[in-house]
Subunit: 409 residues, 4 copies
């Protein structure tokens, strides 16, 4: 048991930190400017020039695919080693893409790496790993409570050498990015099968006939440019049977494997977002005065800052602990630890960001700080990859099982 | 002491309720559509057709200027009588304008009614009361903590028969509306005066040379079309001395009088927003299933719904109580009651709306429900018209004064 | 609608307030001393001399049985009129007994007044109204979740002209008071009946053979002298059939009628307890210094005091509103309002008292302030007369019913 | 970085766990019985027989003085290694004494070990290490806000070869234990010195003339038998000059060194208390039914259990992290980490215990579960060793210092 970062972690943190300092933070204003300009032009969105330049630099610096563990294609980092790096990226909302570490590509690359055939990997994994294309992931549906995966209604039906897909997805992350070429779609192949053996995941090139992007979806008024959640209609979409992932009816199994790392990556970044918000809050409070003293001397802020520091540090430890368990036990056995941080991290980050907004007054809700977008992103996280209530339900059932078993025994 | 609505309140509630049912709720979809279309066209914004039609109908129905009490120009309602009507309007964010009851016009009309000269009233109050023009209010400034009004830096300097105004305002509410013709600006006329005798308020026609609308301000990604907060540059803006309101150095006095009703109107509407959110939440929970039962049967929702009902009802009573005190004691003596509800109502509404968002899952953060915009509006309220911390400070000082006086005595 | 106390309320508040100032507050130290002395002597407890003196004075002053509305035996006050008086009493934990307004006697007197036969009233109601005897109420049982009344296991079986009672009760309030002569016991008479027609309530003189007080129950270490909750064994307790209240199988009906006023009386007193705690907190904060300034100048206290003021005022209004609805609609139709305040008031009071404890530091948990006992009493209230969860369940079901009915229709 | 317990930790956990299972848990009922009997006899308290027997067994098993790190007198455990052991002890409130690991002896032994002269160690440290005597620590005073140590008023004045001590202390922990022989008293030796060089700590045999135990102090109604906080009058208490610890005016320095481990020991035990409460809650919820289902199926409990699991795990990690920092950096440099957990752990434990109380209903506040005493002990911790507000103040100042320095630079 050792709570210090290892020399290897420190070395990577120093490398990434230097890159952030030299290249990313100085580009924040320019990125915002180019993003606004691009958003003003409406759909279809274009790639943001400064992002493409930064990606080239990051790749050259060897800061690339850091997230992908247990794989010759990644940087050779464990989840625990990646964790403080993801936290650093979390300080700048858009920076994970710089390092090819952004959702949903990360999860999709993992799927292809773990479960893809050689052909599937050649066609899709390679360009994704190279950052040449991007991808989308379609699970959630507008008509049902998708947090219970058995509710999903999109159908994937075998027809000769093809599968035919029909359904409607939304919050299909990644789908509006100009480089998006591939969708991974979850749907029903075996409606009468055992609860967790009904669904499959299949590869759908985004330009397949029958795939219609109905509309982009805003979130709290943010267009989410260029993260690009959309609503997608799948109308008799026909793909070759070789596009099936892993095998029919194994979609739930893939989803379970996929969601673990995805969830914890988000949480690692939540820590970084909260640290950034705390920094912004402290800087603001020490630079303004009201009622005869500096804002930070109104001691309600003492309590809020102390709570922020305590809660950030607790959540960081909980995240690192989950990453360590994933490395040692695998994603499945670490599901309690993953569930814990999935609930705890966004809740914590939302509180810190909300306090920071309050410290900024009117500026806090407006367009001049990072805070509103950070808030919205964390708010989505309380729902995305499973709402809090579902994770809490699982956590409670695991806890109660210790005693219910005892009752029976 | 009587907690039932009076016959007169009930009669007005029935009248307004019928109008809402027949005209407003059925227009919600159309309004959203026209708003989106208008927003897509960018600045300058145009009036929204369905709003103009509804205003005509409301005026014809005698549902007009309901907010203005103690005045022959209003509908003859007290604050207490107006309160449940404002709650009703709060259920549909944009509906107060239908009844010429929307900020900042309401506050501006009150100022002109209470403190305006006959000439000022003829030129500005009459068309405002008629709903022919709209107006803006400029107090907050980007460079300072404006919640402490003594920080305000905009200058208003006498020069012969004119005043010359220099400064920068933001979150100038109402200023981007296509009908906006008038700004009321607060600035310093007597920098060395007693703390509360340094400022003045002055009328500035929006087309006066030197008034530049620098940019619209978004809030959490929402463009706030057509509520229209903007940043405004005032560069040697020259207006006749007769545009001064009430008299030099009486700006703080006006602000105090103005803010009381404005604050409570917002709070009344917060109650309505929370009721709407609770209704949406209940409807959603009873229409979706997960894990083998209806969402509402997962009893965590029992606790949340119960808390919502309790907290809404408490805040409604606190609002009505404040309105009653304003009617009986005047805005100044009711300042504790006003401060209480200013803190309590948005906090309560935010919690209810946030829970409702969670009930909706992904749909809750997206563009298809009223919830994100309602959330943002309530979040702004924790800052607008004085941040929570400032109100809490005043409330605490009033409470402590009871005992500090005793210590001294 | 009118939020001011009526002249009649003000008159009674002045009368009671004067009595509190002249007789009760000055007796607090002596009461504590006599209570400690009595507790040190152990069981059986004796009446506390200063209490008996104060009762005589209160009776003489006409401040007697104030709680009992709609009855020639009470003071002629409505629930709404009684409410601010109960709040006053709540400031001194033991003072309700001074005015013969203390649980469980109040509820028991109501039962006897509403449902008692002439004979029952002569024997028990008269001396209770006169304050000559006290009484206990036995509903909760140690072996089951008694908040679901259908779980109750004590049996009441007809045997000739008698009923024979067997079972075990605990938290039988009032039973250890030296003047206690009567228990009202709830038990099963018709185990196979309709859910709410299984139980009866019956009068049991405490000296009936078979009634054994097993032990007194402490609460958070407080012996609850002389409130006197105990565990009671009922072993073949035989009472005449005429001791049955209202009729066999009507116990649930009685309980519902009984609990409404009892619940709200507690809540009224919770407001007073919170006000007292806030006063103690403010006095402490203004009389001590740390780190170079008075404690109250550490502004975290500003937020806590402001929250206390807001939340007390909201809960008071919610309580008064419930009382008003009880007066106008009856206890049954006011059950939502009663449920709301039952949840809200103790929760609020606990927070205020807890903050006050923190303001006092080590003294706050010790024996020298009223705060620990106030805290414990409010903590019990979150469980007594139905735990929060059960009330929240009812509130939520009432809310959801609006929409579930609509779904069906 | 490694989040798994080390083999050495696991080995000690197994040893202590076995002892708890075989000797401590089975003795809980007997201990409670003997404690009640002893408490009923009043002062002076006697040693509890079963405790003395358990101490003998623990000593024989080598489970003794586990807390004392960096010392030949301890068991050779680091803070990090001791941490999970202290958690285990925290599950049974009184069990730390079994292993000679209970406050205030632990802190007092540390002081004597670090700062004591050979003579002082011979006379006092040896019997304390052997568990033959116990000791008290007197810092807090009734008349001032002692959390600001500069407020302390007790005087220690040199007089020839003696010091003469005058003052009044309370919450002098350990002082009522029948084996208590020694007090360590903090007082002013240099009132005009620099803020942190005014105080000294001195050894005072409890039987020194002038030492009067004024009264035992109850906490929320619990007599705290045999933990024994008391109020103590020091009236011209004369001790030899050789009783001074470390040197005149170094009391604050000693206190700083002493409080670090003491604080974290408490927090380690808070984790254990919370785990025990969670276990009790789960067992209760799975063994009772209401409204047609098991209590645990009312899903509000899912949320509470999940929150408990998350918050316990976060606090455990924060505690272990602080212990690790203390081992690596020393108590002084680890003060931020210590401050964090000092605030976080009792707050967390209080919430879990409070929920558990609610799960138990009336039984939860009564004498039959461990919960009320656990609650009170954790509530004291929010005040003892520095109230939350003081720790939050320090944490905030450390955080703000990062940016305030930057402002100045």
């Amino acid at each position: 048991m050792d709570f210090d970062y290892s020399p290897r972690q420190r070395e990577w943190m120093a490398r990434l930190g230097a890159f952030m300092d030299v290249h990313v933070y100085p580009a924040e204003a320019l990125y915002a400017e180019q993003l606004d300009a691009m958003a003003a032009n409406g759909l279809p969105w274009k790639a943001i020039p400064v992002m493409e330049e930064l990606k080239t630099k990051a790749k050259a610096a060897g800061l690339w695919n850091l997230f992908l563990n247990d794989s010759p294609h990644g940087a050779g980092l464990t989840n625990l080693e990646y964790s403080p790096l993801a936290e650093m990226m979390g300080r700048v909302i858009w920076s994970p893409e710089v390092f090819n570490c952004t959702a949903p590509d990360t999860g999709n690359m993992e799927i292809l790496e773990r479960y893809g055939t050689e052909e599937q990997q050649d066609r899709w994994l390679k360009p994704l790993l190279a950052g040449e294309i991007r991808s989308g992931f379609g699970m959630t549906e507008p008509g049902v409570a998708s947090s219970d995966a058995t509710n999903i209604r999109t159908t994937i039906v075998r027809d000769g050498d093809d599968y035919v897909i029909n359904g409607r997805k939304w919050w299909t992350s990644g789908s509006l990015h100009p480089h998006c070429r591939l969708l991974i779609i979850m749907g029903v192949t075996n409606p009468d099968g055992e609860r967790h053996r009904r669904q499959s995941q299949i590869l759908v090139p985004i330009d397949t006939p029958g795939v219609t992007i109905v509309r982009p979806l805003s979130s709290f008024g943010f267009g989410e440019v260029p993260f690009g959640h959309s609503e997608i209609l799948l109308d008799n979409v026909r793909v070759p049977a070789t596009n099936m992932l892993l095998g029919e009816n194994r979609g739930f199994e893939i989803a379970q494997g996929r969601l673990g790392p995805g969830r914890i990556h988000h949480c690692m970044r939540s820590i970084g977002a909260a640290e950034r918000a705390l920094e912004l809050m402290c800087r603001r409070l020490t630079s303004r005065r009201a009622f005869g003293k500096s804002l930070h001397e109104h001691s309600v802020w003492e309590q809020r800052i102390a709570d922020a520091r305590i809660n950030i540090d607790m959540c960081r430890l909980l995240t690192l602990n989950a990453a360590d368990k994933m490395d040692k036990l695998g994603n499945k056995l670490a599901r309690t630890e993953i569930g814990e941080i999935k609930v705890a991290a966004p809740r914590m980050a939302l509180k810190v960001i909300d306090d920071a907004i309050q410290a900024f007054g009117a500026a806090g809700v407006g367009p001049d700080t990072l805070l509103p977008k950070m808030f919205v992103m964390q708010r989505e996280l309380r729902i995305g990859d499973g709402p809090d209530e579902v994770h809490c339900r699982s956590l409670a059932r695991a806890e109660l099982a210790k005693y219910l078993a005892a009752e029976v025994a």
